[in-house]
Amino acid sequence: MPDPVKLTVNGITVDVPAGAMVSTAVAKAGAGACRRSVSGEPRGPLCGMGICFECRVTIDGRAHCRSCQVVCRPGMEVRTDG
């Protein structure tokens, strides 16, 4: 088994299996949601395949990344809006 990957979500350090998507790290960190909708509702992943844009987070300062399609890398800094 490859080593788990360590990254942070809203400053909280989490370990995820190698190859896991950022959406996994967000769930594991207990972040309630990935983003707030235009009227302020908490939102999380819906489609899991890059179509719905509900799982958008900020990764290493880049906003609007679809967390279901980005593989976790060591040291990544993820921010949610939830």
Binding site: G19, A27, P42, P45, C47, M49, I51, F53, E54, V70
Partner: protein, 408 residues
């Protein structure tokens, strides 16, 4: 990033794209295959599956150029696509193009469907395959189609507590479908059922609302005249699949609501542009594989070998038609959204505002329904079912792209 040029470019690395790319390479052509996901296999063979690995091994051996995490956002010139990755943008030129863009789930709005942890059926499975831990979680699987069984089995085998499967189709139509299945398919279904012992499979049953404060806590289901509330951690809910048509439409290919129109060689109405798999109409794995092979041979100028596969494809298409008839969505589902239920999740537009318009264009202009980042990919399938509106023209960029990518 440097621009590239190939004899054939395949968009999509699911079953249809993989078989197509392999057949093209076998015919001695230079071929590139790209996909917006980081791993090949599409949704059905997502990530580390044995089948995806075997086909990828074959593709690599044959010299197929694999471009991962590559999103086609425009077709700026004839026979050229604009592609974005996390690292940058490039153009890719092709002699022939094979579109194997697959399908997405159809979502229907109901009160509470925007709560975190209400997901697609395939959606929850995709996230679980991407590492989401579902062990010990209470899961309700709902919606329509054979995908629900596959998802429930996957969840159960990964330790989830699957409370029930709610299939909106009636028992009689599910039974008729089962009896009309070819033996191989029937065995697959029986195998799936065997993996689901102990999980109630309710036909004529669907979710009417989801409850929770900041995330899902329970779902209310209806079965006949009975409604009840089922506490759960995840609701995996999809009402069948719809083809991804945006790129085909951008290229000017004739598309109908059921898929990209193709001739017997899988060529679209645009010469040199082929389409294969779920993009041409929902038909399942075997149909995708045979369409991918035919498209691969035809795009390499090898029509004779393509012809040998027409018979197999016809059989798979009959199965696809039976599937479509059996799991047709019931009219009662049109009553699911309340006036205040959001239909467009990107722009938070409610049903009352959308149905006050007379067509898609008016709804877009007056309410912003379908104008957010998903560009109507989610609400479009809902609105088509609820109000009968067809999606209209597609304009570049077909996906949100960075300003830097578009400034060339």
């Amino acid at each position: 990033m440097a621009d590239r040029e190939f004899d054939v470019v395949v968009v999509g690395a699911g079953p249809a794209g993989l078989t197509a790319a392999c057949r093209v390479a076998e015919c001695g052509k230079q071929v590139a295959m790209l996909d917006d996901n980081p791993l090949p296999g599409g949704q059905i063979w997502r990530g580390a599956s044995k089948e995806a690995a075997a086909w990828m091994h074959r593709a690599r051996r044959l010299g197929v150029e694999w471009l991962a995490g590559a999103r086609v956002f425009d077709a700026p010139e004839l026979q050229k696509l604009a592609v974005e990755t996390l690292e940058g943008e490039f153009r890719i030129a092709y002699g022939s193009l094979i579109l194997a863009t697959g399908a997405r789930e159809r979502f229907l709005p109901f009160p509470g469907w925007t709560l975190p942890n209400v997901m697609g059926a395939g959606g929850l499975q995709a996230l679980a395959k991407s590492g989401l831990a579902v062990a010990g979680k209470r899961v309700v699987v709902a919606g329509s189609g054979p995908l629900l069984l596959a998802v429930a089995r996957y969840m159960k085998s990964h330790g989830a507590d699957v409370r029930l499967i709610a299939e909106q189709a009636s028992q009689s139509s599910v039974m008729r479908f089962a009896l009309s299945c070819p033996p191989g398919k029937l065995m697959q279904a029986i195998g799936l059922r065997a993996g689901l012992i102990g999980i109630p499979y309710r036909t004529g049953c669907w979710p009417v609302s989801a409850q929770g404060k900041d995330r899902l806590e329970s779902v209310t289901l209806q079965c006949g005249h009975r409604t009840w509330s089922e506490p759960c951690d995840y609701l995996a809910c999809g009402f069948g699949l719809i083809p991804n048509l945006e790129l085909a439409a951008l290229l000017g290919c004739r598309v109908s609501q059921s898929g990209v129109e193709v001739d017997e060689r899988q060529q679209t109405s645009v010469r040199g542009v082929y389409a294969a798999g779920e993009a041409t109409g929902i038909g399942g794995l075997e149909l995708s594989l045979s369409e991918g092979e035919i498209a691969g041979y035809a795009a390499s100028g090898n029509s004779d070998r393509a012809k040998d596969l027409f018979g197999a494809r016809a059989a798979h298409r009959r199965f696809a038609k039976a599937l479509e008839d059996a799991f047709a969505l019931r009219a009662e589902l049109r009553d699911l959204p309340r006036p205040e239920t959001f239909v467009c999740r990107c722009e938070d537009v409610n049903y009352e505002r959308v149905r006050g318009c007379s067509n898609w264009r008016e709804a877009k202009l007056h309410t912003r329904c379908g104008m957010g980042p998903c560009q109507g990919r989610i609400c479009g399938g809902a609105v088509e079912f609820l109000l009968g509106w067809k999606a209209e023209s597609v304009r570049p960029p077909v996906l949100p792209a960075r300003v830097g990518s578009m400034s060339r």
